[in-house]
Every structure is written in C-alpha cells, then in structure tokens.
C-alpha cells in the first residue's frame, strides 16, 4: 500500500499538485508563502552576528529580515531532511561530486565543478535577494497569489538561466 513511497520518482504532475496543496496549507496554517531564499539571509545574518555582532546590528537589511530561527528559516533544513527521507525510501542516496551533464562537457575533475557551483551560488544568493524571492517564493507561491511581479520574475529566472546554460553547455562545453 505504501509502495509509492519507495518509487524513485513520481509523475511530475503528481509531485507538482502535491506542492500546490502544500503551498495552500502554508497560507492557511502559517499565513506565509513557501520560499527558500529568506532562510539563507537569516543564516548568514546569524553567522555574521556570531563573528561580529556590531556589524550584524549595523546592517540595515538584517533589521528588515531578522536573523533568527523561525518559520522561514526552518524551511531549508526541512527540505534537506525531506529529500533525504525520500531518497532513503527509494534506496537512492549516494554521494555525488560531479553530475553527469557537467562531467560530459567539462570532465569529472571536482575542482572546476565546485568553483563554478560556488560562483553560481553567490549569484543565486545575490540575485534572489535582489529580486525578493526565488523559484518557490516567486515562481510558485507568488504565481499562486496571481502576483504580477512574481510571474515576471519567474520568467526572468528562466530567461537568464536558459541563455547562460546554452552558452555554457552548447557553446563553451561544445555539447
């Protein structure tokens, strides 16, 4: 009866519908849109606060997005745990350093992969705060609320992403 829990993947339509229901319940029970990029600001603010409390206190952005362990913060550790549970059910947990799409174009040396991932992560963290949300906050939760800004932002995420991915894997990577 619980066989579906051990499947590798579900239909993307079923998983997506589940996320839609989940998001609706987040509005009902927590009065919040499910988003992920806020957690990284909060975590970063707490790290800065540990190293240099005066600097954290003096940063205007941390007065708007207060660095503390709360609902938006808990989402991200939750996702790590949820994905881990899912992959343990299907027996597919494995340590991975270089994904195949990357390896086929640029080789399996982990150093370039980690460095480009780091650069990507910095731009992603910077860009998500610039835009005020990420693929879940704008792309899903914002669109659900029929937010014009969120739908435009989601289109820009993919427009920028498609252009750079094509350049990276089709032109530079030559695949």
């Amino acid at each position: 009866m619980l066989d579906f829990l051990t499947l590798d993947t579900w239909s993307p339509y079923i998983a997506g519908a589940g996320i839609g229901i989940l998001s609706t319940f987040a509005f009902l029970l927590s009065d919040r849109p499910i988003g992920c990029s806020t957690a990284f600001v909060k975590a970063r603010g707490m790290i800065t606060g540990l190293i240099n409390p005066d600097r954290a206190k003096g940063t205007e952005y941390y007065r708007e997005i207060v660095p503390k362990v709360d609902w938006p913060f808990m989402i991200v550790p939750g996702i790590v745990i949820g994905a881990f549970i899912s992959v343990m059910f299907s027996g597919r947990f494995h340590i991975l350093l270089v994904p195949t799409t990357w390896g086929n174009s640029f080789g399996y040396n982990p150093v370039p992969r980690i460095l480009v991932a780091l650069a990507g992560g910095i731009l992603l963290g910077f860009g998500s705060r610039w835009a005020g949300g990420c693929t879940s906050g704008h792309g899903i939760s914002g669109s659900i609320q029929l937010s014009l800004a969120s739908m435009v932002t989601a289109v820009c995420f993919f427009a920028g992403g498609i252009a750079v991915a094509m350049l990276l894997f089709r032109v530079i990577g030559g695949g």
Binding site: G16, C36, G82, L96
Partner: protein, 186 residues
C-alpha cells in the same frame, strides 16, 4: 474572522510547522525529480521539461486552493508591488547563477539531502556568501530596487478582469502548455 490568527501567532507551533512544511516540500521536490542537476540543466537547455511540469502543476492546483480559501477569508494575499529594477534585474542575475549552479535555493537544499556535494560546498556556501554581499550593498542598491514600478500588483488588476476569470484563463493557458509538451513528446 476565520483567519487562524492564534495559530499564526504561536511562535513554537510555527517553528514546528516550518520544519514540517520544509520536510514535505523537500520530499515532493525529490520525488518530482527536480533535486537532480541533470533535470534542472535539462530544463534550461530545453531538453527536459520536468521542472516546468512540476511548477505549472503546483501553480494550477495552488491558484484554485488559495483563492477558494481567500473567498472564505481563511487566507490573505501577500502579493506586493514589484519593479523592473528589482524583479527583472534581480531575476536575470538569479538566472545566471541558476545555470552555473544547476540548482535553485530550494532544490539546492534538496540536492544536499540526496548526497550532492557540489550543492553543499558550492551551492549552500555560495548562497550564504551571496546573501551577505546583498545585505552589505542593500543601502546603496535601494534606489535601483525601487526603479520603474509595475503598473499593478496582481494579474487581474493589470488585465482589469475578475479574479476567477483570470484564473480560468491562466488555467487554460497552463493546461495548453502541458498538453503541447505531451504532444511534442516531452
């Protein structure tokens, strides 16, 4: 007032709920296949449309759920006014990072849960650094973030249409995209 204000104000309950919502979200992202670098880059290279299928299905279901609850005043809208300076510019910067990293801020956490170390050492560390850079530059970026506001907060306001008519139109468009994807073999 049917809004569950007492529950919303209960900080300890919300902490647990945040974790539970995160766990369910991570579970569904992994089962949907979108915590996989190859699937996300496949979407950006337009060879695999799993990401779009998951997102459109989520929005198609959530849009109806949210607005039914809103009609009964069980939820309220958080939609805020946007600007080209913030949403378009920030969205494009995000896109560059999205392609280089191959994960977004939610799926990067999911990928860590599946054992992807590029997501942990590249993605998570980079995201913390990028968020810090933004926090430091925030006061000087503010004028740009407020530049060129959008003419409306919501799609129905922008189109001057009734909310449910707008939802019906969006549902039809999104369903058509999904049907076309299937028709062309994606």
């Amino acid at each position: 007032m049917p809004l569950l204000t007492d529950l919303h104000k209960n900080a300890r309950a919300q902490l647990v709920l945040g974790l539970l919502f995160g766990i369910c979200f991570g579970f569904l992202l992994q089962k949907g296949g979108v915590t996989d670098f190859n699937i996300i880059e496949g979407q950006l290279l337009l060879t695999d449309f799993t990401v779009l299928k998951v997102m459109l299905s989520a929005v198609m279901v959530g849009m109806i759920g949210f607005h039914l609850l809103k009609q009964g005043r069980y939820v309220r809208s958080h939609a805020a006014e946007g600007t080209i300076g913030s949403n378009v510019v920030g969205g494009l910067i995000f896109g560059i990072g999205f392609a280089l990293l191959g994960y977004c801020p939610g799926t990067v956490a999911g990928a860590v849960g599946t054992g992807a170390l590029d997501a942990l050492f590249g993605g998570m560390v980079g995201l913390l650094a990028g968020a810090g850079i933004f926090a430091d530059l925030y006061p000087s970026l503010k004028p740009v973030l407020m530049k060129w506001p959008f003419p409306a907060v919501t799609i129905p306001d922008f189109l001057r249409l009734n909310t449910w008519v707008t939802i019906a139109l969006l549902e039809a468009c999104m369903a058509a995209i999904l049907v076309l994807l299937g028709y062309y073999g994606f």
